[in-house]
Symmetry: D2
Subunit: 309 residues, 4 copies
């Protein structure tokens, strides 16, 4: 059995939307154009598939397999890394998806904490993650920390304590939370072959200064270029410029939040900006009207200076 790669996951990673037909079925035919858009228009070369943005938990196991396969196939030679999220409420389903991701050639897998029954301690969660990771031991394994969605209150740095003892393939986390002491402590205890990616797009700069390796988020689908500039500015020590870009992102997101921003709106905004017909979300999300998304897209272009105010 191969040892999992120590190749770091850095820079921007787009958490991808899932294309659906107007009837609500998964439409893999759009994955190819989606890959091209990300690479060519947004400068994004890694993806996080079937996560929250991809409505992974609203999909059946078979649908998730189809999507994982297509992203790996279409991303070959174009994308750097395809990370497949395989977290489910059911451990059995997660294991099946992990095995499938390995067969399909994914570059890594990620798992969210189960959120209906909640693990009672960091150790319990590690056991759950371990059982999934063991189904694909050759793949780099990432823990996906998103307390606002899971309702799990435990700290990521406690979950990471000794985790490589039980999960030899552990290679990092996606941290989608606001507790930057917790994130900082993950960074300060992190071995060099782990990647610690931040997932709250609107305050990325605050995590970079704490030592984030990169970023995973939904807005990088359509803001990839601009946020790449933020990363570069930060790397060059130009905090003023980085802050200016961060404020632009905040302006766009807070404007959207005031209008009622949810994943459905986010998806429709991506359709407007990219031109890709990604379709509606699945229930329990309701489609966002096109005019509403267009108004957001206009604001986005204005803030980015792509269009006159």
């Amino acid at each position: 059995m191969a040892t999992p790669s120590n190749r770091k996951l850095t820079g921007l990673v787009a958490a991808t939307f899932t294309p659906l037909t107007p009837q609500g079925d998964v439409d893999v035919s759009l994955i190819g154009p989606y890959v091209d858009y990300l690479v060519e228009q947004q400068g994004v070369r890694s993806v996080f598939v079937n996560g929250t943005t991809g409505e992974g938990l609203s999909l059946s196991v078979d649908e998730r397999k189809d999507l994982a396969e297509e992203w790996c196939l279409r991303g070959k030679d174009k994308l750097e890394q395809v990370i497949v999220h395989v977290g489910c409420l059911s451990l059995k389903d997660s294991q099946e998806l992990a095995r499938h991701a390995a067969e399909t050639g994914a570059d890594g897998i990620a798992v969210i904490a189960p959120s209906f029954f909640k693990p009672s301690s960091p150790d319990t969660l590690r056991r759950f993650l371990q059982e999934v990771a063991a189904a694909a031991p050759e793949l780099p394994f990432y823990y996906y920390h998103i307390p606002a969605m899971t309702g799990l209150s435990m700290r990521a740095c406690e979950i990471l304590e000794g985790i490589e003892d039980s999960i030899p393939s552990f290679r990092g986390l996606k941290f989608s939370g606001g507790d930057l002491m917790d994130f900082g402590q993950c960074v300060s205890k992190c071995p060099p072959h782990w990647s610690l990616l931040y997932g709250v797009d609107e305050q990325l700069l605050s995590a970079l200064v704490m030592g984030a390796s990169g970023a995973v988020g939904s807005t990088y689908n359509y803001l990839g270029n601009r946020v790449s500039s933020l990363l570069s500015a930060f790397d060059e020590g130009d905090l003023g410029k980085a802050r200016t870009i961060q404020f632009q992102i905040q302006d766009i997101i807070s404007y959207a939040v005031k209008q009622g921003f949810d994943l459905a709106v986010n998806k429709q905004l991506m359709c407007e900006v990219s031109g890709l017909p990604l379709g509606p979300p699945r229930l329990p999300l309701l489609p966002c009207s096109s005019p509403r998304a267009q108004s957001l897209a206009q604001r986005l272009r204005q803030v980015l200076g792509l269009q006159k105010m």
Copy 2:
């Protein structure tokens, strides 16, 4: 297509545990003895299968089908009603389970609100429920309201508004929440062919006085006899006796809560009381030690007067 039955669901309904082997696989061989135990030892004649108590959301679709089939098969001629919970995070999975429940001969289906992406309004939730119900239109349909688990803050009585217009098979709800104004308003607007079952075992009496049709709960697996006496006392107007029994139940549950009561403990307590080897829970729940469950079982027997203090 048959019209769904108007047969009411009343009295005590046991929310069943799912038997697992020590290795963690579903063990349907125990369902037969389980049915006999409920009927013969606890006087319980209806069951709610694959719900929270049954770890339904931790099971795969195939496992849930196997369980539904076996409960329908073994319950035939012994149980009055087998209600199969078919709620999933994925609408597609729920629809598949609903169709299967109809083929299998279930007496009704129930659906919990999706809890990862949360419906943004009562109307959105009704649409989700409608899509599931439409996959098995001949089966009585129940909404399963359990805000503490789903994190959904909307009121049940708003969800029920006009629900029969979109779900002709709607026949009631399982209300597992503490807001008794909400429950009271469900009762006051309820047509006679609906059944409104209460699901917080430790305060059942407070819901009976508001007009509950019956009760669904996990403790009725092992406290069925005693709670039947509570129901009878209430029906006969002997509130003093009903209250005394309710206080016994509260004593047992609060004692358990102080020791750290969760579904794993609950399941092991059932094993101790019934003698049925139902096995461990599935991750992310951890097994409860046998001595701990024995101590709870002892308290239970003491409080019920089945054993000297």
Copy 3:
């Protein structure tokens, strides 16, 4: 030193509003007419002064003293019991108000849990309560449990454990919460000289069946007569009638909640129903417009059958 009375506090207790002038100063001149209204029009003979409804925590210590004095003075020979709420964030202030209540002739004092710094355990809270009670040891002492306002998650029955050892004047509680197992356990362990009053008006019936001694609430200011009928019906074993009245109360309150019910609206509704010019609330509450309160008052009259629909 006199021993505190064992006289029980039963039936309906109105949590009184605080009359303010249009300029926002306390207006004690209305207390006399207020007493008469409660006794003559609503059949209410006990009051709970300077509590949540009375905006007690928004008043200065001197204002609270003035109000306590006037209620005791005007209530003499007309009211059965005047309970003065003396809870503050500052222990020193609470002690001063407790001493004053004793001098003023109050029939009892009540204390809410401090809610900015929250007691870390039931024992810590008991110590706080003990320090207040010790400032007026001859007055019956009531703990005021209202977790939705204080954010305190501990159970009332744990707070009551052994409380008479440290607070000899302890005589009961006002339980304004929805956890009826907790309330039931307070009842089941309660010595006969305590009074356990329930404070969630919209589900009073559910607490009566658990053994509540009476009720304290804001709606009894204007719904006292109707709720007295509920109490009588319950006492006579006519649960159907009691339930019908409870549903009326629920209809009125839920209608108000949909319109945005807060204490300001509640106060203005009282003005409309009683005709007493109680004035605006104090900031951070904003006044409710008169037409809005009139619309609620109309609904109230319709539901109670005092006016045609």
Copy 4:
């Protein structure tokens, strides 16, 4: 009437503890030595008095006046700025304290949102703040944002919208929250004469990169020197060094949190580190044992390299 100063509030501001005698009375005799300690040992030259750290809301109005007077008196010619927190649940009390602060020569006043009755909108909160500010219009006014303590969910940047129209003396805020998009938006809309101070000590660096003017916190009482180095490193663009210091602070705080860190522990830790006998906290806080605080002090010295591990 003098126009309020535009002098910025920058650098480190210590949120001071309140010295109490062993009997629990305010002990102003320690303020003089406390000032000297801050200036001479910690390099801190501004203070935030009677805030959360100072148990302001647990003190009576008179006690708060005594403390404000003494800090102004002892800080004269030694401290740069003495900001007096005058927030109370009661608007009247806040106004009285604001007037007093002006008479006493405070350099500014700050007000927390009332947290028992919560303002229903940013505009309502602004009206409350305005009424307080108007009682001392010549003093710079700061809004104190601390949602975890107040339970108030509204965003600071919405509270700040147009605030100088109603509060001409408005000069900034203390932002003690984790929402760095919100903080970023305060910064991006902030006129140059406002000061935006950050108050979550364990993630200060994340706020500096967003543009914080300075920091107010309790740990600067005993970690002032080290955090000054963090500020300097940040100003010089040495993010690596700033991060290293931030990780030290996080190590100390998270170690303390694991042991049960609250204000009582924090106060006792200050006693251990500074040698100032600041006494116990006031109920509802319980005193922290000295050995426990000594163990924290030891950890602190180890992490800071002031003592061998």
